[in-house]
Amino acid sequence: MAKQQGPLTGTQTLTIGKALNLGLRRALEDDPKVLLMGEDVGRLGGVFRITDGLQKDFGEDRVLDSPLAEAGIVGTAIGLAMRGYRPVCEMQFDGFSYPAFDQVTNQLAKMHYRSRGRITLPVVIRIPFGGGIGSVEHHSESPETYYMHTAGLKVVTPSSAVDAYFMIQQAIRSNDPVIFLEPKARYYEKGEVDLDASLASAEPLHRSRVVRAGSDATVVGYGPTMRVLRDSADAAAEDGRLLELIDLRTLSPLDLDPVYESVKRTGRLIVVHEAPTNAGPAAEIAARVQNECFYSLEAPVQRVTGFDTPYPASKLEEHFLPDLDRVLDAVDRTFSY
């Protein structure tokens, strides 16, 4: 990541990665209780350089190079949070977050409930997730369903620089544990961010958003798939079909009101994600939409997802990941009813 050390002010064009970096920087500045911890997050700035330069400026007690132990990172973050800190943990890659699974699902997610509100754990777990980077196995997983299925966690994922900048700060301020999924294939995508805008003026963390209006069919995605959704909408427009695009932003709590409203107008819904089909987020969304919009639906809800296979070797991932053709094919299918 470019070492852009200008002042934290004005409207700047930033990559998603840099926006996250600046968001973390701002959070560290705003609250002395915020700590970053993870493997290589200090001197190296993380393998994706998301924490670049932060240890240098905030010191080793605020930005901790942790032992190589994922359960250890999350488990000690829980203890630190009990002590009044707001730890932000980095899991180096999605597939390496699983060793911490017990600490996340059994401990972090449940402590508020078990203690009947006496313990709050404002812990953020950042996980670079999703495929498309041509890497070896365990580097391209989509673990979102595991976390969505666990009450007590918030699960969010930004898909633009502006969301990256604000959502990471909102996640850190949240008094609930937040699984913060970063679409790693899109770290280098750029967008405009007004660094002076207040957090309060930003879209709330728990809201999904219509990112492109359209009248013919609704297409829902999040994080890594938003790019293919945009490309699909462009292509469909050439065929005279106007797709309405919704970025979920939040997977738990799911904010489906904008989806219901949209489907009631368009009558058609396509849900796109990289995670495998079986019991994936699209299944939940389809079930709820079917409940809320039954009389508006002109066609069954279509799913465009990863296959029910382990994530394939990288030479095959282009076949695994939802692409333009598969999304457009689903659009065609929904119009065939």
């Binding site: 508020h112 709050t120 009450a151």
Partner: protein
């Protein structure tokens, strides 16, 4: 410490030969157990099983008569509470109970060594530690009855809730202790420390290893207090480790100590020393309290399937309460009146427990949805609204 080979006493050639066998040769402890006598290992002891005071070069205690009486009183009361809880389970008032019988000295010794500002992270058997933290002795019973997940305020008592996933809490304690460091609350007499309790079975868990790694690396003011009660449900400690547990500390770069876990004075002395070291910035210690679980693992367990009566009998000879009683008697600190008054206290307290547990109402169903999140919780709110409406649809139908 830790400089002796772990496999001492086992022929090295055999260990390396890779010969197939379903079970390793019995350890000396196993062999002795088979013969009905268990040798005592090397450990810190200040009070023999016969109730004789002995000195140790590194550890001492200096209690007033009153304090000694207080320790005895604690031991008796937590045992009586425990026996009463087992009875309550047998009578159907609790779903399950995890008994501490036999481990009273380890818990009271370490629990009384804590200062108010210290934080304790228990597993699920630390009723004696809770007692020392001033938690109402009825508080854990909601968990074992199925009413709640533990109903005490961790911050008020500096005692975290019980943890049922083996070893998970060791990391929480280390993180908390790292926070003590960051808060600068070390280096003085009123510094703070954390203590975490876990079992010999837990010592095999990855979380415990990671906790020791973090504690060592960050020099956290934490005391690992392992109650080696010789079994993880049915599995003897030899199934968890071939190294004495306390010796593992050397691998993490901090001291390990084995203490006679049935000796309340030694447990107090060793824990107090380790806590003081921690609060003064000397980092972590691993204490292995060598003790024995006299009863079943929990009330669902049948210990006769995996251990011999003679083994249990030999541990009975080292009972933590009777040795304290004979010490107090011999030293003229306790007379019949004193012992009777302790028993009367225990009667009163267990009577209150019994009354409380039997009278415990079922929780309100609305609790299902409470406190899932600290902030907005739309899914749970919607489900709760549905559930309340559903519940109210039964009103007036009468019971069938």
């Amino acid at each position: 410490m830790g400089d002796k080979p772990a496999t001492k006493g086992r022929p090295a050639t055999k260990a390396r030969s890779g010969a197939r066998r379903s079970r390793p040769a019995p350890t000396p402890a196993e062999e002795a157990a088979l013969q009905g006598s268990v040798p005592e290992p090397e450990f810190v002891q200040l009070l023999t099983p016969d109730g004789e005071r002995v000195e140790h070069p590194d550890y001492s205690v200096d209690f007033t008569d009153e304090q000694l009486q207080g320790l005895y009183r604690d031991l008796v009361i937590v045992r009586r509470l425990d026996l009463e809880s087992t009875a309550l389970q047998r009578q159907g008032h609790l779903a399950i109970w995890a008994s501490l019988e036999g481990q009273e000295a380890a818990q009271i010794g370490s629990g009384r060594a804590l200062r108010k500002q210290d934080m304790a992270f228990p597993t699920y058997r630390e009723h004696g530690v809770l007692w020392c933290r001033g938690v109402d002795p009825t508080a854990p019973h909601g968990l074992f009855r199925g009413n709640d997940h533990g109903d005490w305020d961790p911050a008020e008592h500096n005692a975290n809730l019980y943890t049922l996933v083996i070893g998970a809490q060791t990391l929480h304690a280390v993180g908390y202790a790292m926070g003590i460091n960051y808060d600068g609350k070390v280096g003085t007499d009123d510094g703070e420390a954390a203590i975490v309790y876990f079992g010999d079975g837990a010592s095999s868990q990855g979380d415990v290893h990671e906790a020791c790694v973090f504690a060592g690396v960050y020099h956290a003011p934490v005391v690992f207090f392992c109650q080696n009660n010789q079994y993880a449900i049915s599995e003897p400690v030899e199934r968890q480790t071939r190294t004495p547990i306390y010796q593992r500390a050397a691998g993490y770069g901090f001291p390990g100590v084995r203490v006679d876990g049935n000796d309340v004075l030694a447990c107090y002395a060793v824990a107090r020393h380790a806590l003081d070291q921690a609060r003064h910035g000397q980092g972590p210690t691993l204490i292995e309290a060598y003790t024995y679980r006299m009863g079943a693992h929990t009330t669902t367990d049948d210990p006769t399937r995996y251990r011999t009566g003679s083994e249990v009998e030999s541990w009975k000879q080292r009972d933590p309460i009777s040795r304290m009683r004979s010490y107090l008697t011999k030293a003229g600190i306790g007379d019949d009146d004193f012992f009777a008054s302790v028993d009367a206290d225990a009667d009163r307290i267990t009577g209150r427990l019994r009354e409380f547990v039997i009278g415990m109402p079922d929780p309100d169903p609305s609790r299902l949805f409470e406190h899932v999140y600290a902030e907005e919780s739309p899914l749970q709110d919607a489900e709760r609204a549905w559930f309340e409406q559903y519940q109210s649809s039964f009103v007036g139908e009468g019971a069938h």
